[in-house]
């Protein structure tokens, strides 16, 4: 570890954002972006645990071909709530609302976001949405799948669809407000000298994400509202017996929900750029290309929704166009992977936990992206659509990608957030367990999907069992991998060694201030004089390297 010897611990405790105030009010009424980030961190961890519990029950049910652990009704509710919770209440807010909230102002050299009170409001909206979702689960749950396909959701299901929709609707506004706040902050609050191409890549990717959040989320909010209206007032919007069009729902839903994949994965890409650079102490190779690839992804992401509907009665020519555009969107993602790999070339590489998670991300995201090409392929999509192949694919992107990046990011910035280190050995073990467990869980699902096992099946033919057993075994390892950090982070917050401002020898602005930072982030507004990732400034060398 490159920790430069610290100033001996001062006797009187230094002021920082954590000890700036105690008591519940100082948290619930805070407008400090760092504290709001922690509020979000606690809330989404809670939802991650609930969503994970549902996943566990699903995997247990699928151990045997017969539907014997729970009834079909219960099983359908389990996968619906697993999806709803994980997507709307964990993955979408995950990186932007926690790491983004904490870091965006610091990285642009500002004291807070542009609208601190709106930031707090966004957390309250998230909590209200979450409470409604939990209420709908406690009242009996929802069984429509997280996709809410009509006319099942709007006419036939007799579960608590409307409350759940209101919950998602409200939480959607929290996402919109966060996006809005980031965009305004990045445009107007950059420190003197912080030009666009001096911004860290984490900012670029959060900027791209915010664009998708404010342009896409209103569409899904309206669409779900229409489902609720059709349910309550018996209007014929999607219901064909009243003249509605059930497939219209799918168009509207995926118009948001495909870009939502990028809401989940783009911030993760930003985290990976930061980590790869910090642990190889090297500029990100092709900085401009990585930055602009994020923007390209967020724009192209709006043009591919029809690839979810190749067998839903779409015309051959619209299928053709959507397939073509879906292939194009693979290019900017590929560019990123190649640039990350090239960044390692001639670096100074140190295998700390965050980098291990980042390597995991690259590997799993690559497989997730390539299997995305399978699905974009029209002739093959017909067979694998709505099977476990799709389930495996999007878990590679969203768990193998986003959650890996999130975990890597939490480890990387934990010293900044808490002021303390985490136990490195345990950290590496968790990264390893997550990687192995993940592959063991989801690789078999590609196989069983290609064999023809449809998704959302409570019971299945016996010849699929072996693959499901492997998958459940993997999920156990994966669960263990996630449980470890939960334990040692709690331990570390109290007992671990103090981190100091820059334990990694990293170059970002956030590493030039105290750990934990003071409420105002900077004592004096920083002035930026050069491009990011300049490690010569942080660790001056006697003689030039390379």
């Amino acid at each position: 570890m490159s920790t430069t010897p610290l100033v001996p611990p001062q006797s009187e405790v230094k002021k920082n954002y954590l000890n700036a105030g105690y008591g519940i009010k100082s948290w619930l009424l805070t407008t400090d972006h760092k504290r709001i980030a922690l509020l979000y961190l606690a809330s989404i961890t809670f939802f991650f645990l609930i969503g994970g519990l549902f996943a566990l029950l699903i995997r247990l049910e699928l151990l045997t071909p017969a539907g014997d652990l729970v009834t079909s009704e219960t099983y359908n509710k389990l996968f619906t709530m697993h999806g709803v919770i994980m997507i709307f209440f964990f993955l979408i807010p995950s990186i932007p609302a926690t790491l983004g909230n904490f870091l965006v102002p610091v990285m642009v050299g500002a004291r807070d976001l542009a609208f601190p009170r709106i930031n707090l409001l966004s957390w309250y909206l998230f909590v209200i949405g979450g409470v409604l979702a939990i209420y709908s689960m406690m009242a009996g749950g929802v069984d429509t799948g997280w996709t809410f396909y009509t006319p099942y959701s709007s006419v036939y299901s007799n579960t608590h669809v409307v409350v759940m929709i209101i919950g998602i609707f409200v939480a959607g506004f929290s996402s919109i407000l966060t996006g809005l706040n980031f965009i305004v902050t990045i445009h107007t609050m950059r420190a003197p000298g912080m030009t666009w191409f001096r911004l860290p890549l984490f900012i670029w990717s959060n900027y791209a994400t915010s664009l998708v959040q404010i342009l896409g989320t209103p569409v899904v909010a309206i669409t779900l509202a229409l489902v609720a209206i059709e349910r309550v007032f018996k209007l014929g919007i999607f219901n064909p017996t009243l003249g509605g069009d059930p497939v219209l729902f799918q168009h509207l839903f995926w118009f948001y929900s495909h870009p939502a994949v990028y809401i989940m994965v783009l911030p993760g890409m930003g985290v990976i750029s930061e980590i790869i650079s910090a642990f190889s102490r090297k500029r990100v190779f092709g900085y401009e290309f990585v930055a602009l690839a994020s923007i390209a992804i967020s724009i192209l992401g709006f043009l591919v929704w029809g690839h979810h509907m190749f067998v839903a009665g779409e015309s051959v020519y619209s299928a053709l166009s959507f397939s073509f555009l879906s292939f194009l969107i693979a290019i900017p993602s590929a560019i990123k992977v190649f640039n990350w790999t090239a960044t390692l070339h001639k670096g100074s590489i140190s295998f700390d936990t965050p980098l291990l998670y980042a390597f995991g991300f690259i590997g799993l995201f690559t497989v997730g992206g390539l299997t995305g090409l399978f699905l974009a392929s029209l002739g093959l999509n017909v067979h694998v659509h709505d099977t476990y192949f799709v389930v495996a694919h999007f878990h590679y992107i969203m768990v193998g990608g986003t959650v890996m990046a999130y975990m890597g990011g939490i480890h990387y910035w934990w010293p900044k957030i808490s002021g303390r280190m985490y136990p490195e050995g345990w950290g590496r073990l968790s990264a390893l367990l997550v990687f192995v467990g993940f592959n063991l869980t989801f690789l078999p699902q590609f196989v069983v999907g290609y064999l023809g096992m449809p998704r959302r099946y409570h019971a299945y033919p016996p010849e699929f069992q072996i693959w499901n057993v492997l998958s459940t075994a993997g999920a156990t390892v994966l669960g263990l991998g996630y449980a470890l950090p939960l334990i040692y982070f709690f331990w570390s917050a109290r007992y671990a060694a103090k981190a100091g401002p820059n334990p990694w020898g990293a170059s970002g602005l956030e590493w030039q201030i105290d750990s934990p930072p003071i409420t105002e982030n900077f004592e004096v507004t920083p002035v930026i004089t050069g491009p990011p990732y300049d490690y010569r400034k942080v660790l001056p060398q006697e003689e030039p390297v390379g």
Binding site: V247, F310, G313, F338, T341, F351, T366, G379
Partner: protein
């Protein structure tokens, strides 16, 4: 062992073989790129591991030629994949002429299959091998999806419209039928079997199954009992030769008279009015069951070969 540890589903048609060839090529491509990235990461990580705490990496910004290289190469590759996959899709979306048409009405949670000869079955589909079979499908309630992994095909079955898919089975056997679109409580029990039979056995099965009223005859019966016949012999467009033709509409458009159009003409006659006729046809929404609709459709399709205007007064 193969039965306990299956990697690949059986191939039941030429199309299935084509899809598998494509799939394997994609798996190869994935393994190639994943290993390439993995090998590079591993190599760099070992070769450039940090040797002293204050060491930093080389000051390299990037390289335009490399960026172009790794944008253009993947682009060319994906365009190739796109072309290949699209060709496969055209095959599955364009049935050959003279298919053997079987009708499917889905409802929570069963598949009702009607053969042109009038035989109906539930959650089973008997078909002859070596003959192109087209499934014309609709749903009575929510969206389902008729999935036959053995042929690598599926198609959503949607209330309020017809969708279709086709296959040509090449060997007899009993294979899975799944509902692939989540449709409520018993979605995972909305399964069944497709039985592919030698043509001779199939004929035998048809005769064993008893003499039903053929779909065309049942449709003709409905055509009379619903009162269609009272109009469609005199001042209304003749339905002979209609199916598969193009129809000129009052508003100047022309439409293709496929299943969807005929269905719409019966349920929402005023939506598309034939040129030269007044919109006097009443809607039959709510009066015809989905199965009845399929029979009417079969009847109108059976008139396709006849010359217009041959109906006697």
């Amino acid at each position: 062992m193969a039965t306990y540890f299956p990697f690949l589903p059986e191939q039941g048609s030429r199309f299935a073989t084509g899809v598998d060839t494509f799939y394997f090529s994609m798996v190869g491509l994935t393994i190639f790129f994943a290993s390439l990235i993995f090998a590079l990461i591993l190599f760099f990580s070992v070769r450039y591991r940090r040797r002293s705490p204050r060491e930093i990496g080389a000051d390299i910004h990037g390289s335009l030629p490399l960026e172009i290289f790794w944008s253009v190469v993947p682009l060319v590759i994906v365009l190739g994949i796109f072309a290949w996959a699209t060709e496969l899709f055209f095959t599955r979306s364009n049935p050959p002429a003279n298919t053997y048409d079987v009708y499917v009405a889905a409802k929570q949670w069963m598949w009702k299959v009607q053969h042109p000869e009038g035989i109906s079955e539930i959650n089973e589909l008997h078909v002859p091998a070596g003959r192109a079979v087209k499934l014309v499908m609709t749903s009575q309630d929510v969206i389902h999806s008729f999935y036959l992994p053995i042929f690598r095909i599926k198609q959503d079955v949607i209330p309020g419209r017809y969708t279709s898919q086709w296959f040509q089975a090449d060997k007899p056997g009993k294979y899975h039928l799944f509902c692939a679109e989540y449709c409520g409580t018993n979605h995972s029990h909305m399964t069944g079997w497709v039985h592919v039979m030698e043509p001779r056995d199939y004929q035998h099965w048809l005769s064993q199954a008893g003499i039903g009223t053929s779909m065309v005859a049942a449709g003709e019966h409905l055509f009379t009992s619903l009162g269609c016949a009272s109009c469609h012999v005199r001042d209304c467009p003749p339905l002979q030769g209609l199916y598969g033709s193009s129809v000129a509409l009052q508003d100047g458009r022309t439409v293709f008279a496929g299943e969807a159009y005929i269905r719409e003409s019966i349920l929402a006659p005023t939506a598309k009015v034939v040129r030269g006729y007044r919109p006097i046809m009443p809607t039959f929404q709510g009066q015809v069951s989905e199965e009845g609709m399929l029979q009417l459709l079969a009847y109108i399709k059976s008139l396709a070969g006849e010359a217009p205007g041959k109906v006697q007064k």
